[in-house]
């Protein structure tokens, strides 16, 4: 594997870890379940902190996703080289980025979304996150790759 590919995987792994953690931190669960009591993890119960960390990780993830996507096509990557697992993960990631971006817009001042739209976005974002986590776990265990 080229060092570049290693670096990408490394960044992807770390970002995915922190974006998931800070994402779950949006729900008031880390304090309830003593996780925020573990030294060094107190930030998980600070909602303004997890909010910003989630945004920073999302920026890295969006930049990385677009970099990989364009790099793939610039290098003559063909769609039929993407595995089924790869496609499923692309769907989950795209969905997460779109719903996430809409939620960032929703959080801006003077922006009003329909109440049901907000609930739908929250649930879709959570569902897609679970989907990506399960797919990621499968890929790790079964050593599935994005491209063949």
């Amino acid at each position: 594997m080229k060092p570049n590919t290693y670096l990408r995987r490394y960044i992807y792994g770390i970002t995915l870890f922190f974006i998931t953690l800070s994402g779950f931190g949006q729900m008031p669960i880390f304090k309830r379940y003593y996780i925020a009591d573990i030294p060094g993890l107190g930030w998980l119960a600070q909602f303004y902190v997890t909010h910003i960390i989630h945004y920073i990780c999302a920026s890295v993830l969006i930049a990385l996703t677009l970099y990989i996507l364009f790099d793939f096509f610039f290098n003559g990557g063909l769609l039929d080289k993407i595995t089924r697992m790869g496609f499923l993960k692309i769907i989950a990631l795209t969905g997460l980025i779109i719903t996430g971006a809409l939620m960032v817009v929703k959080n801006l001042p003077n922006v009003f979304f329909a109440h049901n739209a907000i609930i739908a976005l929250d649930l879709m974002h959570l569902g897609l996150c679970m989907m990506l986590l399960v797919l990621g776990l499968f890929s790790l265990i079964l050593k599935k790759r994005w491209v063949s």
Binding site: P28, A63, L108
Partner: protein
Amino acid sequence: MAVKISRRAFLKGSIAAAGSVAGSTRIARAAKSVTKDDKEPIVTLLDISKCIGCEECVHACREANETKFPKPKQPFPKMYPNRVPVQDWSQKQEVTDRLTPYNWLYIQKASATVNGEDIELTIPRRCMHCQNPPCVKLCPWGAAKQEENGLSRIDSDICLGGSKCKKACPWDIPERQTGVGLYLDLLPALAGNGVMYKCDRCYNRLEKNEVPACIEACPEDVQTIGPKTQILEKAHALAKQMNGYIYGEHENGGTHTVYVSPVPFDQLNKIIEKGKGKPHLSKVKNMMADGTNFAKAMLIAPIAGVVAAFGKFYLSTKEDK
């Protein structure tokens, strides 16, 4: 033994006796100014110097919103782990000296000396209805919502009672009641803990072009409601006239509630009773500002990704030549 006439009952009588003409025109005028055609958010102005602390507004709020109050089922489901607090106000519904799920407005008291004169001030306190409300924007389920007229409220059918809104609120306004709401139908032992309650600025009355109950009930016309520009102008004129001070215009990036007081708010903040259910009057920075700035900076992310890929491609084609 002296016969005690409740001040509330007395005032009610006196309002009726004063005749309804003046009252009804005033309220009709106010109601007209909160119609939906207004493109601007609606703001309320509270003139603290006029408030006599009669609690008429507090009782009007309780009456008008009684149907929205929690009706918890006993016994409450056991919650795990043990640190999850049971918060039950259903046995203490009569409490009016702080905010509770059954008391969305309360009268905060302060004694101060202004120009050598001792004065007693009473301050009606409730949700400030922030312009960019963290309680709404950070709610993970979309249970809290903001309407275009600027009010924010918590949907008791959706709220799970995690209390994140209270922690995010710079004034700790929402109050929790255990044993009600959607969490009972999900995993009551493991997630959720009831429903959060706070002033919803009488959204259902506003929908009918009626003013909030607390405004209508006040015998001293402490509150004025109307479009933002108009109310802010009034607030500044009033502050100038009484040589007073304004609170709420810039707090947390701006709210839809402005207080005008003859005593500086930092001084008031020192002498009011603060604590659970009793919000402070300190300066509040814009809690959502960092999030908003990061959100704007996020626009660079996709561009950076594409540019990096393009740069790499460009360099590799150059190397190939």
